[in-house]
Subunit: 100 residues, 2 copies
DNA sequence: CAAATATATCTATAATTCTCGATATATAAA
DNA sequence: TTTATATATCGAGAATTATAGATATATTTG
């Protein structure tokens, strides 16, 4: 972890919707409906579910998630036409350790 | 810790200077000259020293520090005409626990 | 291959944040 | 009580971020 990445993570965490996404992804089963195709949450939650829950436009949420992945807060996995997002616990730990 | 305060902390941590102040204040003795009047760092570091180290204007740093105190990242203590700032480890822990 | 679906990117305007100089306030020193 | 010093607040223009609609790309399905 370095200062630049840490502040990029800070930017992602400076917005309530983005912070909430991090919270929601702690418990996908509790916060999202089951995936019809993918029968599990091993790789996280698809963009559409996150977008619907957040109530913002598709492009806005897509931008959020892309940036959150770029700074390492999220891990993105493609399965066919869907992108699934999950928390990157390793980076999260590096960030909190850096601050503490 | 709640979502609103957490995102306010995120805003403070979204800027390299502000994040660095948090880092500098981990080790005042190492990062700042000794205080002439106050002989210790028990209450942290005075605004002027932080301002000089950061290299930004007095008003900018004062605003930074005020906001960092408002969201609980820093604790401010007045001694005469000086304000001393130190990290608020309790809030920092609450924030990192909230994210994890 | 055409149509449908999911996601990503582009572009532009609105909103917010950055940063400073000017000024105000509080305290100490002369 | 005037002057000096440290910090806080105000006001404004510059810079950045927010957000959406339009469009592009990728993948699946018929």
């Amino acid at each position: 972890m370095n200062l630049k990445i840490a502040t990029e993570i800070g930017k992602c965490l400076s917005n309530q919707t983005r912070f909430q996404i991090m919270e929601w992804l702690k418990e996908p089963e509790k916060n999202f409906p089951p995936h019809e195709t993918l029968k599990h949450f091993n790789d996280g939650v698809c963009v559409t579910y996150i977008q619907e829950k957040a109530g913002l436009s598709q492009s806005t949420i897509s931008t959020y998630l892309t940036n959150m992945e770029k700074c390492g807060l999220l891990i993105s996995t493609r399965h066919g036409k869907w992108s699934y997002l999950k928390r990157n616990e390793e980076t999260i730990k590096q960030f909190t350790d850096f601050l503490k």
